[in-house]
Subunit: 485 residues, 4 copies
């Protein structure tokens, strides 16, 4: 695929796999709208006042049907939008086509190379000679990283003419980033400075990206305000837990058609994502073994009747392995060699270093047999026995299925919309410094409230007397900040 | 697609969608073999003695990857095989291609018209001038029905020259059957008689087909022995229950990506299939309402915390409707009109009269919007509100996903293989009359035993003393015939 | 407690623990009536016609609150009743007191010795000089056994004057039975013959008793017709499954207060009782290991995510052991020695030979520490480590708690009432020979139907057209005899 | 029961129901020790250094078997202890007897009047003329309240000789408190001042007590440092959730023997306690309806397949009602009148105003029928229909059963011990001001870690490289403070 930006008849830029899928994408977007009451309520509530009038938003977030509803909520509220995906396998091409045709500049397709991936990210940030975006919607923090690395490089370059050196790192992906920045420096040595000066803020979606933001805040290197959407209760306790409970088995089934009942499954990590995965596997009839470093999470697993062991203990008897840790080096190639023939290995986390894909790919004599896209059987030469790796060790639920379903993404994305409105409304007030913020609890509760009606729920109302008795306002928020739900 | 039989280089007949998918099919067949220990054990145990030597087997059973492993087990045991699918949507084209290329004569593709469907069935029965098959593997009983109707028509024709009259029935499918038989009569007025004379027996897979067999037995019209495989415990309590528990959500997710958690789901019927469906939906976080006619099954639903109501009670509040009854006229078009916008309606049973598809298709002014194959939105003109119907009202788990997973099908299909061996072995002994039989319990237990090792299970052995105490043989069978499991 | 029959002011015989508990018993009986709609419906439907007019019924069945409602249903329908318990620990003394005072002759108390137990059984059969009962309600078959052994002894005595010799058996309980019969022979050498001549039939409640009946039928020694109530669907699939799911954890909690979550539990046997026990433990957060001899039941356990191992595999790591097999020698004293300190060992089945209580009691140097009645810690001398045995190895749910709850017992007992009515109605018709019968399916369905309204269920009605399509009557029965539910 | 302090032969004061139960209590304490690895580890780790040497601890916390193990852990670490219960129904008399005889001064029995309750509280604080305790272990905050009210009254009395006036309040319980303080003022007008001067701090166990502490902190009236043990993860997410999941059904079964399967249950409130209760009822086969004021918790309930309605919506169809809110006026007498006959109404929360007991008791013509202690049927005169109220509307799991099981209480109480050690160690360092503190996360993780071994769990160890990658220490703590688990 040649990396040339194309243009719609209306003059909007894009690069997608197949524009002819736009109609199909539109049909699915219309179905999804019915399942995303939070976003549709935002359109009703905020649409008339056009809060994003004049705002340019760059998004780096899986270009799926659900994201399409998010994008069209942003444009319905007045924003101009450019978008790329935040994972090489997660784009749904029909969604990308529909948005590219109808609503926003999209640069995304399923199965990008890493090179293509960063080219897309650059395009999403490229608002032309007048600078970058006003706001960023991020998932995993890659666009935010690019800007921060760009600014750092420009400073060094200005100081002593030093250019970034891609050969200074072993990390293949970081080499690409440095190359992009190096090449950009030659044409515009102030590109990323202009960008960061314009940016009002970023709202970040996921654990991994949030972790990076807090590190930058701690180091004093954060360049603009950030809202941590991940830690809204209606995000981390919903999308991570209930989303994965839905999409893990979906990915397993679509990729392998394997029967879950009767199997032994190892879930590495028992945070919210791991809890969702373990619940799904247990309910499907698997016997679930959890690995954990944190004694509290381990004790939670035990209380649900799950066994807690080390990976080593279970390596040769388990049928399915899922990593959910957000850490690296969880399942190494030396582990994979000990597994049963056709054991399934997958990662529902963001990065492909959770499973040692590098070790696997470079294992001497290993043979890769692609059953179908995102489902590979890897055969070890010594044993002629193989394992099945999903989505090349990345986000299996988006690579092998369609990710989280619309309803739960409506919770996450309503947080995004509210965060973006907040950042843009306060762009000149000074309310937000170059720090990481979470949304106040009453907004979190509002996000939840927008999703109740569709499920037929009826809330109880607190009387004034009762509210006083437990010392909360009648209208909420109802819980202290540290409440764990 | 022109209905012309094609021929492999080795001279075997076939008609499939796309022979280039044979390699992909082969890869998935190899994966499935690992998940089907019962069938693979049959190859090991019986392969050397070639029990099917000289036997011609015609199969009419969903042409999936799992069925491919069944077919190649039959051929590994010495049989010659011709095959068609028993549902217009259930063929997996890569499985059909691999088998057509490598092992047996296949006539099947996903998305047949009814006309094409019956053409395929005829081809599977067409063993050339020397008559029909020796054995039949049936699922739903369509091939058995065709032979019985053929024989009936030939008798009438011989008696008084009367030809079947397709216009004598309203049922579109039965019109096709009568047309086929009528046209056949002209070329060979003894075709079906020759066939039934040769046939040693049929083994039937599913509730619907078994019901027909018992009716024929009761009427005295059954033309050859039949083994009811459906009522083996390792079939009805496994495939129906655990298979559907797996494949119902799989079909829902692939077709609609809808979030199951939080939804209200109505399951019509709480037999084994309904129990599996209800369990899956409950575990996925739905609130499940069951409809039932049988007070015992209704009370079982209540004991699991499910609500038991009539369809009418729940019609306007539910999000998902699944029929599992094996009966007809369960959800009528008048019901569908009362449903919420985008309510999902599907049938996991065999025939498309469980949901009133005819009423829907002929509803004045109704609009059908195909989101993607097997996922249609039907919009009523009065309300401009629509419902989503899966797989045109037929077997949604095979139409929208890949049906039951390999492991549980290994149980069902091992019963089939054992039944076929039994029929063929006793072909001249007179052991089986023109009646319906079930497999003896020790064979049922054997099927189960073949599937334990792979799941790491270790059985306890009865001592002689204990066996005497409970009056069973040490080697089993362990339960009385009426035991319900 | 001296074994003297007492007499109420109205002249009815009884022997209970404490008559002053009658008021408390009455209050609980009144609560239970609301939870037993099947029995109360029988009173409404049959009460006016007094079907049991003139009938003497002897019952041997746990003398609990629920049984009290059964007894008073029998008397409300016209019967005269004498009752004993069928287990030395299962009587609820307040229930016994209330019935003794108000309704029937009761001989039962919690904590009988074996000697007392058989004295009570004799009293329940003792209808005075005019012979025995007309009908028997049995659970476990002890009363039926006594009559059969009695008749056998009388025949031998008549033939050659031979008296039963208690020293001919090692079994302590059987010694008592022989003693009773021997002593009786001296006063009335035709006592049991007169009894069996009068008896119209027995209805038997439980697996163990039913097994004995089928053996007698097979041997040709059955002396009167028997209805197997245990194998009504509304008995075996309800009381055994849902009853145990409720009463196993109840017994565990009352006896030991132990936390179930996080524990490793071994369930020996995965029939209906085992399925109920395993479900309860799994839901309570335990990790459940099943032992099985039957490969089909073992595969069912695996499909629910349970591990299937031998007792030996799990003996040293498990915390809780439950036997549900109905067999003997399941957990031997040599197994108990290998268990963790304070492992809990219990049997939910009828007889105390499922756990090797004899081996434990006679283990050299073993020390028994009674924590409270029915909860004993047994300490082995070698390790000074102990296990906790509940209810002396007998029915732990009745010994340590109150057995199955009223609602599910209403299903079982409604079957009993219907069976008794049937036997009495056909007493002279010859319909029932000296064989074992099950109730016809329409009565089974009726029992279920009587329990739906209270749970708010609404059944769907079959149309005539639908009923014809599936070949069943509109009013049921809806399933073939072999249907497994 | 005359309120006279008794004295053991060793001279220790006490007042319990029945000292002869001490042996039984000791046996159960020994069983519980095996189930409380956290407390036993504290004895091993800290016992030798006697950290509480010289410390006087007053505890006000349900005097159960589990608390007995806590008390003897405190004494094993060197403390001198006086104890009362914090609920009139929660004492287990055999536990109280064993501790009184062997270890500490206990003033507690099951079924205290309110007058007796506060007399016991006074005794627990009464360390003789040399002043009060050094440390307080509190649950619900009653002892802390008494001291604070006492100090307030003494100040007023000193200022203007004003005595507390019991008639100034409608609240019956507060009248008793004021009476106690008034009477005390006459004998020692500095009693509570001396007490608060001596007190180093309090550790508080429960939500209700913690709420009071934060209010006092906010008002600036808190008299000594407080550690909020309730909000340790290993307390609130374990004891509240898993404890109630165990003890709610235990209480229901012991009090009513009611079958949970098939019932409709309403759980008011879906916090940690409500989540545990709803899970238990759902697993038991009930259909659960949740009432909630908080949209986030409501959405969580929906995601688990529970229905969310108002109490009014469900009032006439439900069979079981449980309040878990910690608020007041949840179920009013006007609601109770609308319930089905024999609906069960109970509160698992601390105070009896969650259910309108006052309204019920004073309802004109209402009739109370005590089935057995803590199980009352209340009959309304208009309908002659009744409801069943457990434990007089207070903590039903402690009133009707034995509360949370040992294992989960070991988590809570290990937090208590660690908090007490911390307060006493820092008594002079000034580390703790007159504020409310939570335990640092590494201690929370330590509590969990102490409970893993017994359940056979094996933790995974983080490598240094991995720890750096996610920016945590290798030894933990592993999560940010706001992590929700």
């Amino acid at each position: 695929m040649a990396l040339l930006v194309e243009t719609t008849t209306s003059g909007r830029e894009y690069k997608v796999k197949d524009m002819s899928q736009a109609d199909f994408g539109r049909l699915e977007i219309e179905l999804a709208e019915v399942e995303m009451p939070g976003l549709m309520s935002c359109r009703t509530e905020f649409g008339p006042s056009q809060p994003f009038k004049g705002a340019r938003i760059t998004g780096s977030l899986h270009m799926t049907i659900q994201t399409a509803v998010l994008i069209e909520t942003l444009t319905a509220l007045g924003a101009e939008v450019r978008w790329c995906s935040c994972n090489i396998f997660s784009t749904q091409d029909h969604a990308a086509a529909a948005i590219a045709r109808d609503s926003a500049a999209v640069f995304a397709w399923k199965g990008e190379t890493l090179q293509e991936y960063w080219w897309c990210s650059e395009r999403a940030l490229d608002w032309g000679p007048t600078g970058g975006p006003d706001l960023i919607v991020d998932d995993g923090g890659d666009v935010t990283l690019l800007i921060h690395e760009g600014v750092k490089a420009e400073e060094l370059y200005e100081k002593n003419g030093q250019l970034p050196d891609p050969s200074s790192t072993d990390n293949a992906e970081f080499q690409i980033i440095l190359t992009i920045i190096r090449d950009g420096l030659k044409t515009d040595p102030k590109r990323y400075h202009k960008m960061k000066d314009r940016i009002v803020g970023v709202s970040e979606e996921t654990t991994t990206g949030v972790k990076r933001l807090y590190q930058m805040q701690a180091n004093g290197t954060l360049l603009f305000p950030a809202i941590n959407v991940n830690d809204s209760v209606t995000k981390s306790k919903f999308d991570n837990l209930y989303g994965c409970r839905h999409s893990l088995p979906d990915g397993l089934m679509r990729a392998t058609d394997v029967m879950i009942a009767g199997k032994i499954a190892v879930v590495c990590g028992y945070g919210d994502v791991g809890k969702g995965c373990a619940a799904a596997l247990k309910q499907g009839g698997a016997r679930v073994i959890v690995t954990e470093i944190d004694p509290i999470c381990a004790l939670q697993a035990l209380m649900e009747g799950l066994q807690v062991l080390t990976l080593e203990d279970a390596i040769s008897e388990a049928d399915i392995f899922v990593t959910t840790t957000g850490n690296k080096d969880i399942i190494m190639v030396s582990d994979m060699k000990k597994m049963k023939n056709n054991a399934i290995v997958c990662n529902i986390g963001h990065f492909d270093n959770e499973i040692d894909m590098h070790g696997l790919e470079t294992y001497p004599g290993v043979k890769r047999i692609t059953i179908k896209p995102q489902t590979d059987r890897w055969v070890f030469p010594e044993t002629n026995s193989g394992i099945i790796v999903l989505a090349e060790g990345r986000l299996m639920n988006l690579g092998c299925a369609t990710g989280h379903p619309s309803f739960v993404m409506s919770c996450s994305f309503t947080n995004q919309v509210i965060a973006q409105i907040e950042l843009w409304k306060e762009k000149t007030s000074g309310k937000y410094e170059k720090k990481v913020y979470v949304l106040p609890k009453h907004l979190d509760e509002k996000v939840a409230a927008l999703h109740l009606g569709q499920l037929g729920a009826r809330l109880t109302k607190l009387s004034k007397d009762q509210a006083d008795y437990i010392s909360v306002p009648v209208e909420g928020p109802y819980k202290p900040a540290h409440y764990r739900y």
